[in-house]
Symmetry: C2
Subunit: 368 residues, 2 copies
């Protein structure tokens, strides 16, 4: 397991050397974690100097960097009062004689970038761009194994909630209970803020749980996911509260289900991101819901929720095998509520059985 | 209540106009919230163009910006596919004929700053620096009222935990229970990740709860706080588990208590930040614990936990009245554990009774 980080760093160093930057300074936390196996808050990773170094800010007393970086990486905990780790890294790169240093201009603030440049006046500061984010899109077996466990935990937490009494409880309490159950089952924490939306709130993406209580006849939509060893998955389901759903609820549910299935079925290596989005979107569009749809119907998952690829109308690029994504269309009718259905899947070759569904909670319309 | 945001914006506009920037672009979320009363994720606030405008990214369908900005502020939700709100704000500033635009270089990334400059080539882009952060240091009555409620909620959550059985439970579960109780009592959420540290972990600042279980004879230190309407407070207490503390535990507790009291007693308008730190630090230093102390013994609280002022040896500046701060010295003995004691207080004139203690849970050494 520990060799994997060294291999990833080697790939990035090779790519940057080919682009003219001998040294690379990575500061975005998810990218640091991907390349070093750990990302203490504020740490910076310098590659291609004399050696690879993870520079950590002076931490709370006695707290070692979390995680377990592999052997090819030196860990330097800066003394109290030391400069920002990115500045210390720039000094180190200059000391090692690096002619150029690629930094993450999409992560460094203007103020920190200026401090980096001032600390290494003999080094040309270049832009690393999204090189690490791109390298992260296709996952290896260990990463997919972590996502699979994250999905199992998520399914367990959701399954337990469905067995409990829901009527009369608030969105806020249901969300807290789901998060507690995620941790009970071994999650490091929720992958993102758990959303529970009842009645008129149902079907809203990213709805923040309120004090509204679950009522008979409500749609109830939930969105949650576990963070397991840094890997984050996502599931969304919509249920109906009471004995039998109303006709409009059944119709709307069937429509969103059809859209979500169309999106899932479009997940094949070589398919354009926008075509996956289109497959799901056109079902809702044809039924007259096109105007108020979310800007994307899915996205990549991994060390971040919502990482690339984006499944959206203007997205550029094509799916590869071993890319985990969500497919999550939804419709919300103002004042009435709505439906969201969301799965995490891994893109696979058809010869390998097609997309691998990680979140396996049923997508039948359950009346709870 | 709603007028307060307009007054804050007016003060900032005046200050910036005096410094040569007619228009101001605020992007740091806590600063946007301070000036607009709401900060939808990714929103940007433009002041001093034709009018004050809060530009919000195209949100999840149907979700209005949270909070309730006052009347003098226009809210513009950008259409799907629109540019980054900071870029849209720069275009607006140029359209309004602003000669200069001050931006937050400590928040904008290099990539976003470049996009801002490219969108408004006829505008000189200047640095706003920490102007809003400085304006936020002294709190008004409404802000202090929110902090007072946050502290009440925090005391309640902690008090309930103390009445429950602790032995045998894990740090992780105790932390989750505290966070649930915070929300039960009306918090919008925890102000920061709750820390529960037992036995050898006790006394470590920012310890991440583990699966270690509480044992007889342990020190147990907890650190938590409520977020109420965006305002965040902090409390830290250390307890002993079992009937009677050991001699070393009593000694260490008394020492940290004396240091914390010295810090609290130094809170007076006009006192240098570093002198408050010194008052607490010297007590621990004199007892031989100087080497491993945290870099600061307290900090400001408000819309962010850990905002300015910093109570640290090299901090520049002096306390004002109506500045809420923490006083939180601690000692950790590797392998044995330690003690942290942390309160949130508001600096007040002596004529007004001296520092106002917001977190009133007892600081006696309780055996639980």
């Amino acid at each position: 397991m520990s060799e994997v980080y060294g291999v990833r760093r080697g790939r990035l160093r090779d790519r940057c050397a080919a682009a003219g930057s001998a040294a690379v300074l990575v500061s975005r936390p998810a990218n640091v974690r991907y390349l070093a196996g750990a990302a203490p808050p504020g740490a910076a990773l310098l590659l291609g100097g004399r050696e690879d170094v993870l520079l950590c800010p002076p931490g709370p007393e006695g707290d070692p960097p979390s995680g377990r970086p592999d052997d090819g990486l030196r860990i330097a905990v800066l003394p109290a009062g030391a400069a920002d780790p990115v500045v210390a890294a720039a000094e180190l790169a200059q000391g090692a004689g690096a002619p150029a240093l690629a930094v993450e201009e999409h992560h460094l603030t203007v103020a920190r970038h200026r401090a980096v440049a001032a600390a290494a006046p003999r080094v040309r500061i270049a832009d690393l761009g999204l090189a690490v984010e791109q390298q992260r899109i296709v996952k290896d077996d260990d990463e997919i194994a972590s996502l699979r466990i994250a999905a199992e935990i998520t399914d367990q937490a959701l399954g337990e909630l469905l067995e409990s009494i829901l009527v009369g409880r608030t969105e806020r309490h249901l969300a807290l209970e789901l998060e507690r159950r995620l941790v009970d089952h071994g999650a490091d924490g929720p992958a993102f803020p758990t959303s529970v939306a009842t009645g008129p709130h149902s079907g809203l993406q990213g709805h923040r749980p309120s004090d509204r209580r679950v009522e008979e006849g409500d749609f109830l939509s939930v969105s949650l996911g576990a963070n397991y060893r840094g890997y984050r998955c996502e599931i969304g389901r919509t249920f109906v509260i009471g004995t039998s759903p109303a006709d409009w609820q059944i119709e709307l549910y069937d429509l969103v289900f059809a859209a979500q299935r169309a999106g899932r079925q479009a997940l094949r290596p070589g398919t354009a991101y926008r075509d996956v989005d289109h497959a799901a979107r056109q079902v809702l569009d044809a039924a007259g819901h096109g105007e108020h749809l979310a800007p994307r119907t899915g996205h990549g998952v991994g060390l971040e929720i919502g990482e690339d690829p984006q499944l959206a109308p203007a997205a550029m690029g094509k799916l590869d095998a071993c890319v985990p994504v969500t497919v999550e269309p939804g419709v919300h009718l103002p004042g009435r509520g709505g439906v969201r259905i969301d799965d995490t899947l891994v893109v696979r070759q058809e010869a390998d059985g097609g997309p691998e569904l990680l979140t396996i909670t049923t997508k039948e319309l359950l009346a709870l």
